[in-house]
């Protein structure tokens, strides 16, 4: 692997991966591309986030929905684990709490397919420091 040896290298990497992150959103098939993040900190895993993540990957594949499922850290809503964040293309991300496989199924069928919101939404209650 190439080593990063200067700030310029770093910025190049940043741009490359920023592009990749964006690419996920604006790929060839934007209306079918969905990004899902599963909160996989200890609290999430303890309440079944791993099973939910496996379920999502498997079911989205089976149902022919193009989606990227990634793991991430603690979103802070430990009372509502497992939590997942779903971002439909060109829409604001939405966080769902208490997601078991049954709920995941409902989210796939209603929200991911049709944009219909389902119960269990956790409003984001913090500010980020990104410009």
């Amino acid at each position: 692997m190439t080593k990063i040896k200067s700030l310029a290298d770093l910025r190049k990497k940043k741009e490359e991966f920023e592009q990749k992150l964006k690419l996920r959103e604006t790929s060839i098939n934007p209306e079918n591309y969905v990004q899902i993040k599963v909160g996989m900190a200890t609290s999430g895993i303890a309440s079944g986030a791993k099973e939910v993540m496996d379920y999502l990957i498997e079911e989205l594949g089976k149902r022919g929905i193009d989606a990227v499922v990634t793991q991430t850290g603690d979103m802070g809503y430990c009372f509502a684990e497992p939590t997942i964040e779903v971002k439909r293309p060109n829409e604001d991300p939405i966080v769902f709490g208490y997601v078991d496989t049954k709920k995941a199924d409902e989210i796939i069928e209603k929200y991911i397919k049709n944009g219909e919101l389902v119960e269990g939404i956790i409003p984001v209650n913090y500010e980020t420091i990104d410009e």
């Binding site: 700030l7 603690d74 956790i122 980020t128």
Partner: protein
Amino acid sequence: MAKQIKMHLLVCCGTGCRASQSATLQKALERELKTNGLEDEAKVVTTGCFGFCEKGPIVKVHPDNTFYVEVKPEDAEEIVKEHVLKGRKVERLLYTDPKVKEHVPDSKHMGFYRKQIRIALRNCGLIDPENIDEYLARDGYQALGKVITEMTPESTIDVIKKSELRGRGGAGFPTGLKWEITRKSKSDQKYVVCNADEGDPGAFMDRSILEGDPHVVLEAMAICGYAIGADKGLIYIRAEYPLAIHRLKIAIEQAREYGLLGKNLFNSGFNFDIDLRYGAGAFVCGEETALIHSMEGERGEPTFKPPFPSVEGYLGKPTNVNNVETFANVPIIINKGADWFKTIGTEKSKGTKVFALAGKINNVGLIEIPMGTTLREVIFEIGGGIKDGKKFKAVQTGGPSGGCLTEKHLDLPIEYETLVAAGSMMGSGGMIVMDEDDCMVSVAKFFLDFTVEESCGKCSPCRIGNKRLYEMLDTITKGEGTMETLDKLKNLSKVIKDTSLCGLGQTAPNPVLSTINNFWDEYVEHVVDKKCKASVCKSLMRYVVIPENCVGCTVCARNCPVNCIKGERKQVHEIDQTACIKCGACYEKCKFNAIEIV
């Protein structure tokens, strides 16, 4: 085929909003949609707490992000007819900005209602912690690149000093100053140590940072290494954090592959690498001298300071020890500047603090708030209030070293100094909320039990004194205490505080002293009246049948695990006090309120 839903009405159903009729409001909205034939086009969805309970109930409309506040059930008709049907926002229900006195059209323009700002947790829940590229996409390692290629160690320390960042492990020592002292210590070898020995009961801030954003800690440690002149970093982490360890290992490996750890970083000749050291989970090893001894393979016992680790630490060499959360603030301060960081927080405490909210609170979780936020905002707005609508009694901050704060402290801004003045401390960030069902003597006993267990035994005030404190608390909860016990309790607490060797012993009596100060009446009640109002101390309570209410249904007798309730069908029952184990099963099962606690 059903029409596509084009609009969503999100109704907050957090406890606060529920208390102000949000459930009725939700039904009213559904009814109005139906009446107007809109049920296929718009949908009502209930959500969790928006953290804006004082203005509840909240209704948020998607997709235009309209944010209605203090919505009453009778407003449902207007919202549906005007907003859903005609697309016109109902002006009078919009949130009014208290500063400019204008209606705010959508939630994006009212960011300040969000009480939390995520700085240390900025990537937590956002990036994949096992993929360095996602960290790089979020300006990762740019601060390290900047200090190595564009700044001197001195100017780096200067930025941290100017930012007024203070240690997030609890005591609040100025981070920049610590770095400077370690830099000035002359030695051929120095070390950077990250204290990830998070030991407070109920605290999980550091674990979450390491699990969600491990690279931020690695980057900050390398920055610190450059600033103080160290080429070796060690993370002391407890073995009971397997996921954090797993992700740190991956992160270190990935950083090495990119050459962001290792030799000759950024072609500057500066080397820095990081290893992990595992702790066995002893609370005292969070104390920096004990931590260092544990890493050296010695017993995890503290030693007298000075010499401070900055002068003589790991293997006798100058060592800079910072907590995980402190490190998590460093890269962003380098990137955005000290002046930016100082805009957040209060005069003496800058930036934010992460807290792990736990106990009798609705929204148990991880929060990050600007310093100066009040306890009331944390507990009732972010935390969504007390579980089951019970009454708030106290909040414990600072873990076993901290103290209990009460109702009268709720409007206290959270800062290092204010918390100490109120008899508690910032601590590493555990915050345990207690309600009316908690007995404060038992709470103090719980924490003492913890410190007695965790005392390393090196100095006698801590080893013997705390054990005696625990025994006194135990006699009080058993109803065998006297007013004299309380005097002894107070005196011994002060002696332990004054004479213990390290922070563990010096702070161990805090939970006792703060509960004595704030809940003196409750202690007196235990020793004089032999009563425990919260019904926690089993020796001080009895379950008895109220003969007038008892219908003789036999439910209590059938549910009693020790068969100590006697009585014929349709006859008044009786509890045999000598056999009763006070489990409360009869009390919970009785449908006629015929059992009381006396």
